[in-house]
């Protein structure tokens, strides 16, 4: 009888050991994480501490062609620019990154996102935007050195997902932000598909340019959203069709769609059904990384949301502001 129990025990251990091989989806810290002002070096550091597999950042260009880590093309939502440079706004009242040199931007302090020209914090539950802590804008070089330095000191390799903001807007200023990005990465010897850098953008044609004209071997991800949002001139309706995905397969490794392209949501945030986008993407060997899973603003049950995308939609990763929460939920399920 005891031998019988021992066998059951051994079988259970064996099953559990098989589970060791199961891989959980990637967790990508959106702009670092929700808990500190977005995209600051501190926010990126805590995403790493929370064990996010990738940290997602955005880059824009300054007047002197330096890559700044910032989400918006303007400075008014996250910095004190209107106090430091009151006369440098455009006629719409906003101060644009591309109108400033790097050394001018260094004088700004960064805070948690507010609605510009108000004192209203966009995400009230997050870090207080009224805090006097002088966070600063980071350059891409500093961000890369943080990544490499942390990988060295923690002995853990996390990756950087770099979103190029609005390449077409930057072209109006006769600069190719993509070329400057690739050159900066080359200076750090970050060029190959196995290097911890991935590039994404909404302008699909820029990805093609990076792959075929700049001959980059870095992994590329196609951001996809609704055409009417005018994120770029790309035709997203085409790129999420079967023919479009087939074309994407020839130069990108994954798609990063607005999560509303993968499932149909009801008014209350609950999910009605799945679209066929993930199945089609997988057919053409494209991984799928939807955005953005925000625990503090999602109206429905967040745990059910993650579970649905994990087990039913079967996405390959999650772009989320709360990487710690998503990791904990995913690991509970295995």
């Amino acid at each position: 009888m005891f031998v019988y129990m021992l066998n059951i025990h051994l079988i259970l251990i064996f099953i559990v050991n098989i589970c060791q091989g199961i891989e959980r989806p990637l967790v990508i810290g959106h702009r670092g994480s929700a808990y500190l002002p977005e995209l600051t070096l501190e926010s990126q550091s805590i995403a790493h501490a929370y064990q996010a597999d990738m940290v997602e950042i955005d880059v824009c260009l300054t007047r002197d062609n330096q890559l700044i880590v910032i989400h918006d093309l303007y400075l008014n939502a996250v910095s004190n620019v209107k106090d430091i440079y009151p006369n440098r706004s455009r006629s719409d009242g906003y101060h644009y990154v591309i109108d400033f040199d790097l050394n001018e931007l260094r004088n700004l302090t960064i805070h948690e996102r507010i609605i510009p020209f108000t004192n209203t914090q966009v995400y009230p539950a997050r870090f207080p935007s009224s805090s006097s802590i002088p966070f600063h804008l980071a350059t891409l070089n500093e961000t890369i050195e943080l990544l490499l330095g942390l990988s060295h000191s923690t002995n853990q390799q996390y990756q950087l997902l770099i979103e190029i903001k609005n390449p077409e807007y930057h072209s109006q200023y006769n600069t190719s932000i993509s070329s400057i990005l690739i050159s900066t990465l080359q200076a750090y010897n970050l060029t190959e598909s196995h290097h911890p850098i991935v590039i994404q953008t909404f302008h699909i044609e820029d990805l093609l340019y990076i792959r075929e004209n700049l001959n980059s071997r870095l992994r590329l991800i196609a951001l996809l959203t609704w055409n009417h949002l005018n994120e770029s001139s790309s035709n997203f309706d085409f790129y999420r069709s079967e023919e479009g995905l087939q074309k994407l397969e020839t130069f990108v490794q994954a798609i990063a769609p607005n999560m509303e392209l993968l499932v149909n949501f009801a008014e209350d945030g609950s999910i009605i059904n799945v679209t066929n986008l993930t199945v089609l993407a997988h057919k053409y060997n494209l991984a799928v990384y939807p955005w953005t899973f925000r625990h503090d603003t999602y109206k429905g049950n967040f745990e059910q949301l993650i579970d649905f995308f994990h087990r039913t939609v079967q996405v390959d990763g999650f772009i989320t502001s709360q990487p710690d929460i998503v990791i904990e939920l995913l690991e509970k399920k295995i």
């Binding site: 808990y35 943080l146 942390l150 000191s153 690991e331």
Partner: protein, 389 residues
């Protein structure tokens, strides 16, 4: 036998529900010490407390820095060429906050040789512009992170060398208490603790400044003529009894808690922890560093201090490592969820693939052992009852 099994698991459960505190020393080892980024990582890793050091600037601002000089962790020599003293060093108290703000902070180097003190840590040559922060900013970081994450971590503020600051007619403790007052951080229930090596200064804070904040007594090896307080007295039974009227815990150099042989292996425990506990004081030794420790096994070192020396917490540069060790030896996970949940550790694949492997930690294996023993008991008791027929 059944009773024995139950008793064994009851003991394990009790141990698991109360793990020692983990205190992130100067934040974490992975980023330049005491920077806001380093403190943020300590918070994210789950350290119960974040330990920081404060010194005064020339204009009485509280600067978060460990040394009273700037040459170990900043680029002061590149920014100011003629402000050093005769020993070659630049002292914090000789500079205003505005001047200190232009410095960049980097991973610690030996100022004479420019060699990185801990070679495995963040590269000291990196151009990432970390900055010195003030106590106000550090307090706001803690409160802001506690608010944003919903996790209540605490700040352990070490006042560096009050007796040195007195030479400049500055009462650093008074300025610390006033700063904390401005943030309404005054009670023993607030997430702030103060510690210092100057025991008499702790008395001053408690009885002259009338602070109700929790206080820890730092202790090191007593050197006559050098040490500011008589640690040989304060770690005697009488001294500990004396301290117990004023402080809530001792933070001793780990060599005062256990005895080491020539090779760094532990050969015994001193009476310090026993006496401290007798007088209701907790014990938090320093400093546990995974990249610099006595003996041959960091895991065994931590285990000894936990189970044999029975300290109440660890002051460590690697809070994530110690938290992991404490969880691996615990049957039931106590940190986040209160229900019995099986948790998995993840390690990144070294080939930088875009998928992750998960590995089982010991909590789940123990759960299976529990299952086995209960079912074994059930079957053996059924067997025994069969024998009666």
């Amino acid at each position: 036998m059944f009773v024995f099994v139950l008793f064994f698991y009851y003991l394990e459960i009790c141990q698991g529900l109360q793990r020692p505190l983990v205190i992130g020393h100067r934040g974490v080892a992975y980023l330049p010490e005491l920077t806001l980024a380093s403190q943020s990582m300590a918070h994210a890793y789950g350290a119960d407390m974040i330990e920081i050091d404060v010194c005064l600037s020339r204009d009485d601002q509280l600067i978060i820095i460990h040394d009273t000089y700037l040459d170990g962790v900043t680029n002061i020599r590149e920014m100011f060429s003629n402000r050093n003293r005769s020993d070659g060093r630049n002292y914090v108290i000789d500079f205003t906050l505005e001047e200190l703000r232009i410095l960049t902070v980097r991973e610690r180097v030996n100022p004479s040789t420019n060699v990185q003190v801990y070679p495995l840590r963040f590269p000291s040559k990196s151009i990432v512009p970390f900055r010195l922060s003030t106590l106000n900013e550090t307090i706001e970081l803690l409160l802001g992170l506690n608010h944003a994450t919903g996790k209540q971590r605490q700040l352990l503020i070490e006042i560096k060398q009050p007796e040195y600051h007195v030479l400049y007619n500055k009462s650093i403790s008074k300025i610390v208490i006033e700063t904390l007052n401005a943030y309404n951080l005054t009670r023993s229930s607030d997430p702030i603790i103060i510690q210092t090596f100057n025991i008499e200064e702790l008395m001053h804070i408690r009885y002259n400044l009338h602070s109700q904040l929790r206080l820890f007594a730092l202790m090191t090896v007593y050197q006559a003529g050098v040490s500011v307080s008589d640690y040989d007295f304060y770690r005697s039974e009488e001294g500990i009894r004396n301290l117990s009227n004023t402080v809530q815990a001792l933070a001793p150099d780990h060599v005062l808690v256990v005895d080491y042989d020539i090779n760094g292996e532990i050969i015994g425990t001193s009476d310090l922890t026993k006496w401290a506990h007798q007088y209701n004081l907790n014990v938090y030794p320093y400093t546990f560093r995974k990249d610099l420790f006595p003996g041959s096994s960091f895991e065994k070192l931590v285990e000894y201090f936990w189970h044999i020396a029975q300290v109440d917490g660890f002051i460590t540069d690697h809070p994530d490592v110690i938290l992991q060790l404490l969880q691996n030896y615990t049957t039931f996970n106590t940190t986040s969820s209160t229900t019995l949940s099986t948790t998995f550790n993840t390690t990144s694949s070294t080939t930088l693939s875009t998928t992750i492997n998960t590995t089982l930690n010991r909590s789940s294996t123990n759960f299976l052992h529990l299952f086995l023993l209960i079912t074994t008991f059930l079957f053996t008791s059924i067997q025994r009852s069969e024998l009666y027929f």
